[in-house]
């Protein structure tokens, strides 16, 4: 095994979203865990077919919102009550209703930023290079084709078996996905 490239997985192509969902369900039922499906638009029911757990994005968004809101209010309180209190005709220093607009805006800002950057971070994006891009036909994954890739890291994975399995799902253009730029020390010594 002195190959410079290492195997990332095997990939099969499907023509419709319905085929993809059916195939994803069967792949999961067959016991594969490390796999992914690729689609040109968010296919309804695909997350369930793959058995994806609820994402962390809503929780991160909540944290961002709470963080933004507390920072916003806390900061205005600190400025007006602690850092530079100004007694104007005996009016309360902590005039909280006047602090609501800024608190609200910072809540939204915090929540929205956490939603976007949290989503990108959980998706490990930016990630300009990925082995699946080595498959020539994969460029159609952003136009009109659907793909399933069973990854080599799956305990049940074997090139012949997994390929045969994809064939049984009526996948077309089944190809091995190779990671050309894998570092040499990556477990092949």
């Amino acid at each position: 095994m002195q190959e410079r490239s290492h195997l990332y997985g095997v990939m099969g192509e499907f023509e419709t979203a319905a085929d993809l969902i059916r195939a994803a369900e069967k792949t999961r039922d067959a016991g594969y865990k490390n796999m992914d499906a690729y689609a040109p638009y968010p296919v309804e029911g695909l997350s369930e077919a793959l058995g994806l757990r609820r994402s962390w994005v809503p929780f991160l968004t909540l944290m961002g919102g709470l963080g933004g809101g507390l920072t916003g209010f806390g900061f205005q309180y600190w400025v007006n009550v602690i850092a530079y209190p100004l007694n104007i005709a005996g009016r309360p220093l902590n005039s909280w209703p006047a602090f609501i607009p800024v608190t609200f805006e910072l809540t939204i800002l915090g929540a929205a930023s956490f939603a976007v950057f949290g989503m990108l971070a959980l998706n490990k994006l930016p990630h300009p290079y990925h082995p699946v891009f080595n498959v020539a036909r994969f460029s159609r994954a952003t136009t009109d084709r659907f793909f399933i890739c069973i990854e080599a890291t799956d305990p049940q994975f074997s090139v012949t078996e997994s390929t045969r399995f994809l064939q049984s799902l009526d996948a077309q253009h089944i190809t091995e996905v190779r990671d050309e730029e894998a570092p040499l020390e990556h477990g092949h010594g």
């Binding site: 793959l50 809503p58 006047a98 607009p101 805006e105 930023s113 989503m119 959980l122 998706n123 009109d144």
Partner: protein, 460 residues
């Protein structure tokens, strides 16, 4: 008065145009929208339009440069009319932006399929409108390089912004709005950037779109989180967009100036914002669909729906005008009563009558279906409404400030050539950005159009 629904199978009920013309596949929508960016050559018409827009932007540059050299004295503002064009234009532009967020967020939450083909450029319009809007308060300070004073930073003097002032709320509202709109727009663009990366033939385009797409590969795991984030963003942008024009209206209504100090301002400002925003979306959509042959994607249904939203928000605005008057007269407060008199008979009354004509009377034509489905009428109507909404802000700012409580504090305002150059210049900035946008990015969301194709196929 029967409870039955006589509409069903009634021959007079017109058939609704589809949201997407029939016969499209994933490939055809992708090809047609991405071709406008990737393969279709830049037309002469684009160059001519861009040159005109860019020249007008040049005028803005000159006007702002002269302002920086001479100061705000080159404008028509004075005491007592310290706000003038700068604030009129600020409110006008920020209002225009609101339709983009409404279309992308509120209609998304309401699951309106027809939003799909117009949300992308409506969001772009929001961003560009916010950019134009933000410029005005910035240069209105007279020393734009000192504008950072408005943000809380630890200065050596130990002082902080006045957080009880609506003007500081405005800084936070508008900057948050700009940031969140940018995030929303960019998140929507990611899958399309990946499509463009995969379809681009030339190396530089592959590189640029590849860099922007950040390696998006349509993974189901990614879509899973992506959809969650997108839905949350829509949910966050909805209260945000309502808050922004509310805060803008606080700039007026928190003050005690007659004609400003009313509680109806926030809702009627928000309605007015959406009104002018939809007008601007129509102003852009109509030429866009014509010149880029997007009639299949931006169908009559879209134009008609937008006309209906305009009509509805226009009526809310009319209600606002009516109650502004009614409450002033009913209150019996002499300064408020006097202001009503000034609007109807004062030196700026012709602006007020023009405003009623543009914003209330003309749009009533939209009750007629034949008018709503006539592209030329809609285009002209959208311009009339935009003029009307600009007049509204002029009336609010100028009439109230020229007729304060004491006659000794009364004044007159007329804009100078530099006011006009700056205002028209921002239209150049806006149009330049729109021209660049339709040339380098997909003006319609490709991924969402594919979803629409899938949806149509399922229901056949």
């Amino acid at each position: 008065m029967s409870a039955a629904r006589p509409q069903e199978n009634h021959p007079e009920i017109p058939h609704l145009d589809p949201v997407l013309a029939p016969g499209h596949s994933y490939e055809s929508v992708t090809e047609q929208i991405s071709a406008a960016v990737l393969t279709r050559p830049t037309t002469l018409g684009w160059f001519v339009g861009f040159t005109i827009a860019f020249s007008v932007l040049g005028m803005l540059t000159v006007a702002v440069a002269w302002l920086v050299i001479k100061g705000v004295g080159i404008w028509g503002i004075n005491i007592p009319i310290g706000w003038g064009f700068a604030i009129v234009n600020f409110v006008w532009w920020i209002g225009i932006g609101h339709a983009g967020t409404l279309i992308s967020a509120i209609l998304f939450l309401l699951n309106q399929k027809w939003r799909t083909s117009i949300n992308r450029f409506a969001e772009a319009m929001t961003l560009f409108a916010v950019a134009c809007a933000g410029l005005f308060p910035l240069i209105h300070t007279g020393r734009p390089w000192m504008a950072f004073y408005m943000f809380p930073y630890p200065s050596t003097m130990g002082i902080w912004p006045q957080f009880r002032s609506p003007l500081i709320w405005d800084v936070f509202a508008v900057s948050t709005y700009g940031t969140v709109s940018l995030l929303f727009w960019f998140v929507g663009l990611i899958p399309d950037l990946a499509t463009l990366r995969d379809r681009a033939i030339s190396k530089p385009k592959q590189m640029i779109f590849g860099l922007l797409a950040m390696g998006w590969r349509g993974s189901a795991r990614h879509w899973h989180r992506y959809q969650s984030a997108y839905l949350l963003l829509a949910g966050l942008a909805t209260p945000l967009v309502l808050s922004v024009h509310t805060v803008v209206s606080f700039d007026f209504s928190i003050a005690i100036v007659p004609g400003w100090h009313t509680t109806i301002f926030p809702p009627y400002f928000v309605a007015g914002a959406i009104y002018s925003g939809f007008a601007m979306v129509l102003t852009i959509a109509i030429p866009l669909r014509k010149f880029y042959h997007f009639e299949d994607f931006i169908t009559m249904r879209h134009l008609e729906n937008m006309a209906k939203v305009m009509l509805a928000t226009g009526l809310i605005v009319a209600y606002g005008y009516f109650f502004e008057f009614f409450m002033s007269l009913y209150s019996g407060q002499k300064f408020d009563v006097f202001l009503v008199h000034q609007r109807l008979h004062g030196p700026y009354s012709h602006f007020y009558y023009a405003l009623i004509l543009c914003n209330i009377l003309t749009p009533q034509l939209l009750w007629i279906r034949r008018m709503r489905t006539n592209v030329t009428v809609l285009f002209l109507m959208s311009i009339v409404v935009n003029i009307g909404m600009w007049l509204e802000r002029f009336v609010i700012v100028v009439i109230s400030l020229t007729r304060d409580f004491m006659p000794s504090a009364w004044g007159r305002y007329s804009p100078t050539v530099w006011d006009w150059a700056t205002f028209i210049g921002t239209m150049g900035l806006f149009t330049t950005l729109i021209f660049l946008f339709v040339r380098v990015l997909p003006a319609i969301s490709i991924a969402e159009m594919r979803e629409l194709v899938a949806h149509d196929e399922e229901h056949e």
